[in-house]
Structure formats: C-alpha cells, structure tokens
Symmetry: C2
Subunit: 281 residues, 2 copies
C-alpha cells in the first residue's frame, strides 16, 4: 500500500490537543496538505498560523470545511454532531472524519444526512489529561492506536484516512462502530470514572495529592481530565457504563468480603490473576 | 544540620528493589558505609558483590545484622516481623529500620522486644511494579517521600535515619505510626486494590491490555504489583481497607444513579471537583 498523501486540502475544526497535534503531524510530512483551521478561540488559530502549523485561519467553522478534500472535526462529540448537521451541504465531495470517543452516533447521523459514503470515523487513543493547542505535538499519535470505523464509506476513502493516521506513526485498527463503542466503555470511560470516584474518596478521607506515591498518582491522574468532552460520551453510552460500574462494584463486594473474613489467599489469587492479565500482550 | 553519614557499617536483609536500591544509593555517597547483605536467593547477593554494590555477602540473615551500626530490613512486612523477633538479641547497639508499608505493627513489636529506643521505622513511597535486585537503582528514592516513624527511639537515631534518606535525595516526612498506617490505606492500599478490581472487570468483559490507551494503562498498572508483599499489609489493615472500599462503593452508587437518571450535570460536577483536588499541590 502506498503512503502517498491522498489529501491536498485539509480543513480542521477545533485546534485543541487533538486538532493541533493533527495539524502539526501533517505539517511535518513530505508533500503535506494545505491546512485551513477554525478554532472557537481565534487566538489559538492565529498562533497556529504564526507557528506555521496551518496555512490559513477560517473565520467560521463552515468556512473551514468548504472546498476541502478532507474535513476533520476535532471537537467533543456533541459539537461534532451539531456541526455535521449544519455543515453537510458544504462538504462537496470531501472525505469527512473526526476524533471523538464514540463512533456509532456519528455513523448513524451521517447515514441520516445521506453522507454515509463520505464519512470515515476515527478515534485516536492518544493524549493524556492535558488539553488545548499549547499541549499539542506532532508525535502525539506516534505508536498509539487509532480506531477507524469505515461503516458504509467508499473503500478508497477508508484507505486514505487510514494512511493519514499511519503517516503520523499511528497503528490503525479497523473496527465496527458498535464494537468500538462497547470496547471504549470498558477501556476508556470506566478508567476515567473510577479515577474520579477514587479521587473523591481520597479527598473525603482528607488526603491531598502530595500524600500519594507513584501508584496513587497513576491511579488518580485521569481525574485531571476535562469534564467538557466527557458529558456527551457518557450520555450516549450510559447503559453500558452502568454495566461496567456494576461489574467493578461486584468485584469490590468480593474483595470486601474476603478482607472481612481475612481470606488473604483469595485476595492474593485475585492479584495473581489480574497480574497475569496485565502482563499478557 | 550536617549530612555527614552517621553509619559506618550497614547490614541489609533483602536485596530486592528496595534493598538493592538502598545499597546502590549508599554506595555512590562520599564516605559511604561498608555494606553487608543477605538475600534469600544468594545469586542476587553475589551479583551485587560482583557489581561492587555491597562489600560482603552474609550467609544468613542473622550474620547480616550482627556487628552493624545500622540494620535495614527490606523484606515484606510479615518477614520483617518474624526476623526481628528472631534477631533482636544480635543487634547490639545498632539502629534498626525497615521499608515496609505499615509501621504500627513494627513499633509495637520492637517495644515488646524491649528495643523501642533503637527502632526507627521507614517507608519510602518509591518504586513501581518492578521487583527484584535487577530493577534496583541508586536514584530510586530521589525526589520521593520517605515516611519516618521514630516512635520511642532516641532522637539522635531518628536524625541519623532521616539523614540517610536525605543523602539519597528523598524528602523525609516524620509522622506518627498510626497516622501513617491510616494514610497508607487510602494513598496506597486503595489504589492497589482498585487497580486489581478494574483489571478483573476488564478481563471479564473480554478486553486485553492492548485495547487500552494511556489512561487505561495508567489505571491498571498497579495490577502488575507483586501479590507477595501485599498479603501481610492487607491482613494488618483490613478494617480501614474495608472502610476505604466502602467509600469507593458509595461513590460508584452515586455515579451509577446519576448515569441512570441521565443527570450528566451531576457527573460533570464530580469531575470538576476531583479535577480541582488533583490540581491542588
């Protein structure tokens, strides 16, 4: 498969950590595309222009998506949905993708809009708790997994979106949208919510972050994540999220009972099992 | 305060991650002490001798503790307790310390043995999930907190143990043993157990570690910890551990209810609160 870059003109909506890193990653490619970007806070888009990371600042989101080969929405899920509905007539023949954490709602939306053939959903499993253009970097996606949900899109467009991510060093993983969304509840939403709840318990017990060692810091790191991007993800996937929370609760019941009965062998067995799971690659 | 090294002869029992790192850290000091060490697997002690990290291999634990200025037990809590009972007659005038995760039981044991004046408990909040001499390093303690519980010990001995940790770049935090042990349940045991339980839930849902992004990997990292050191810690502190688990369970109840009622504002409020807690330093 050729890695020649398939898109000459790219429009990015949202120049935060994801959109900014995408622009930077595309910018350092040989024969990279011309990039136009819109950002809600215009200062960051102006800064990206001054940094040479983009070629032009769009004054509106619509302006950023018109006349492009590739349109990328790099905003929270609910904003992607609103914008897609407002913008689709302006896409022309562009391939459209995004970086949100759930893919089913977007594939259904674009099908309803009559643009299923043009939309290829992306979800890069990259980034930490930092947010904003100032945290963006050209190698954010390097070595990380990017899920690609082609759905009903033309296979050429799917291949082109996959190549784009691969050109930035990402490992592309094609997946069905529903399977992706269920997986994310367990792999991404659950760790996020657990980190928040454990941080809450520590705070209520009177601890501060400086009381933690490396392990406690790791476990509560996600509690620093931005609440803004999470609301729409949790709203869409709340039933599977409840199942995941209940699964952890039942694990905690088992553990609590083992500790009250001083069945340390049972606790050790849990630890051995999960240690083996962690070490399998 | 002078940082001149107070101990000329140090005996270390256990050359794993902690004992090995301590030996390495002392070895690189100007005017560092002569170090004798015992390790259950003699090969690692021989390797440390060949590496120049220690000066002599002891054939038995007793041999390592006799005739020293400082004795350090770097083994799991239950092993420290057994050895202290068996060894105390051989300590002479040595100052005795350890690196275990709970301090109350050891202060009570040494008081019963009649050695309260000589025992200064230490707990370095350092290291990750790696174990063994092969993972040890001279800068393991650098920048990390070491709790020091002096109890009834002579103040000169407390000062000398504190200076030893400071000489390796650690931030010493003097603390009452009971306060330390309660703190550790929330700061250290709870994250460990949560990581195991979340890993179990993910495994049961059919996930593997390669399905995780950076956040999910952080949250399940502790599930790789060695079960061996945990049993005695959990056994000693099981009541406070049960309270900590119950606190997380009640947080999960709140979250589950908010998600089933689609009260996303409540979830966002939890996220904002814990984010602020995480960012306070």
């Amino acid at each position: 498969m050729s890695h020649a870059f398939a898109f000459e003109r790219v429009g990015i909506v949202g120049l935060g950590l994801m959109g900014g890193s995408l622009a930077r990653g595309l910018r350092v490619l040989d024969n990279g595309p011309r990039i136009v970007a819109f950002n809600r806070h215009r200062e960051d888009a102006e800064r990206a222009l001054a940094d040479g990371v983009i070629d032009a600042v769009a004054s509106t989101a619509v302006e950023a998506v018109e006349g492009q080969d590739l349109v990328v929405y790099a905003t929270p899920l609910d904003v992607v949905r609103e914008m897609m509905e407002a913008h689709s007539e302006g896409w022309g023949d562009a391939t459209v993708t995004d970086v949100a954490g759930l893919k089913g709602p977007l594939l259904r939306d674009t099908a309803e809009l009559g643009f299923a053939a043009q939309f290829v959903g992306s979800h890069p499993m990259a980034g930490g708790t930092a947010t904003g253009y100032e945290s963006s970097s050209a190698d954010l996606f390097s070595g990380e997994t990017v899920f690609v949900c082609g759905g009903e899109a033309d296979s050429e467009r799917i291949g082109a979106v996959q190549s784009m991510w691969q050109s930035m060093g990402a490992r592309v993983r094609p997946i069905d949208a529903d399977a992706h969304d269920r997986l994310m509840v367990w792999a991404s939403h659950l760790p996020q919510l657990i980190s928040n709840v454990v941080a809450r318990a520590m705070a209520e017990a009177g601890l501060s972050v400086k009381d933690l060692g490396p392990g406690g810091r790791d476990l509560t790191r996600l509690a620093e994540s931005s609440p803004a991007m999470w609301s729409s993800l949790l709203d869409e996937a709340s039933e599977e999220n409840i199942r995941a929370i209940e699964s952890v609760q039942s694990g905690l019941d088992v553990l609590r009972e083992a500790l009250s009965e001083r069945s340390l062998d049972e606790v050790a067995e849990l630890m051995r099992t999960t240690r083996e799971w962690r070490k399998e690659q």
